[in-house]
Symmetry: C2
Subunit: 241 residues, 2 copies
């Protein structure tokens, strides 16, 4: 079979696909890594949970579709969250009704003061990832358990070599808040003192605001914003072999 650009190209040649953008939106909430899910009302998988998403429109870029879905479900806009493409899933029978290819995106959001359940986007809610994936993820519709697993794994590894842990925090946050993100996402405990040194000394990771807060109790902590770098060097590696 030739590339679309080859001599035997004919618009009638290709099978039509539906293309959707699905979202793995993660946040840290009540000491658990949570994902945004909706409850399905229709067959197939009626009553089961699913990742939010929808059709890509006729003249819409893939990322734009993901941004639009994210805004509809959460009210969040890029800038407030991190959004990146995750992977694309297109097994022939992933949707029994028709051929659907979904371009999954990963979003990392701070814990929302206004939960997503209010306003326009009724129906979406945060659910601990551990619960969604319990029993092999059978609770989730379609291949959404696999997509969620891939999204969680991507988030875990991105914490190692990018400053994206901060995407789970409020715009201004303390080192301890950031550390709790790492502990919950990785499922480990970290030494507070070594973590503090590590993140404050890694050039470009954190930018001090000058202010302090005592919202976590004890001695007031400095507040930081995300720094400018995209990659951490050296990275924060998980595991202690």
């Amino acid at each position: 079979m030739a590339h679309i650009s080859s001599a035997d190209y004919d618009p009638a040649d290709f099978p039509p696909f539906a293309v959707t953008a699905d979202l793995v939106v993660l946040t840290v909430r009540d000491d658990a890594l949570c994902a945004l899910v909706v409850r399905r009302g229709e067959e197939p998988y009626a009553g089961r949970r699913a990742l939010p998403g929808g059709f890509v429109r006729e003249r819409e870029d893939l990322r734009d579709a993901a941004v639009r879905e994210l805004a509809e479900e959460t009210g969040l806009t890029p800038g407030a969250v991190h959004l990146e493409q995750l992977a694309t899933y297109g097994a022939p029978d992933r949707d029994p009704r028709m051929r659907v290819v979904t371009v999954a995106h990963l979003a990392l959001a701070p814990d929302l003061p206004t939960p997503a359940a209010g306003g326009d986007a009724a129906g979406a809610e945060w659910c601990p990832v551990e619960e969604l994936l319990a029993g092999g993820g059978a609770e989730l519709a379609f291949d959404h358990a696999a997509i969620l697993r891939d999204g969680v794994e991507r988030a875990r590894s991105k914490l190692e070599y990018t400053p994206l842990g901060a995407a789970f925090c409020r715009p201004e946050f303390t080192v301890a808040e950031l550390r709790r993100v790492y502990e919950i996402v990785w499922g480990v405990t970290l030494d507070p003192r070594n973590f503090h040194r590590k993140v404050t000394r890694t050039e470009g990771f954190l930018e001090p605001t000058g202010a302090t807060t005592s919202r976590d109790g004890g001695r007031p902590a400095q507040l930081f914003r995300r720094g400018g770098v995209e990659v951490l060097y050296p990275p924060l590696l998980r595991r202690t072999p």
Copy 2:
């Protein structure tokens, strides 16, 4: 807009897309990182080079389509090469004729004794990546320069924390051959002695065959196969800050 699963689902609701699988096939050849490209015969972009690829068939999984295209262009099968999904590109005007979403895949292949140009797959040839991306990649059709850049960057970073450098080598290879892969893909020079220690001591990276070869001249070198691990710990980090 609702998810495909919502109450207002109707097969007529969604715009149809063509879905293609395109390939970034990389190899190391004549001291350069090279990609497999085809020459276009048709408008648009007639006479320009393009990444190999083609339509995903009616009942074919995305990876299967990539495997099929790879076999058609190179005769290679998974097992002989590493193949992974790279990313998906779907800007509305990326193909002026119609709405096409392409799921790009990345393949890493050893330098082929039988070049791809022979046999069925006439027209495909290896071209240095540097040459293809010179001048912003204007030589390449569609958005293929961006896809190639993303593929190369993925390959570069995968060499850091996975044993995939070995995917560029023959089934049995010496440490020096592996080192040259790193040097060419990263565009750096590495200390042969430290590299040797590093890769031979990283558990699971290399598995000695017991045999030696003197094909590179000088003292005969041990031959190795790829080891079993998927991730390297600790990783081989590029840059020397």
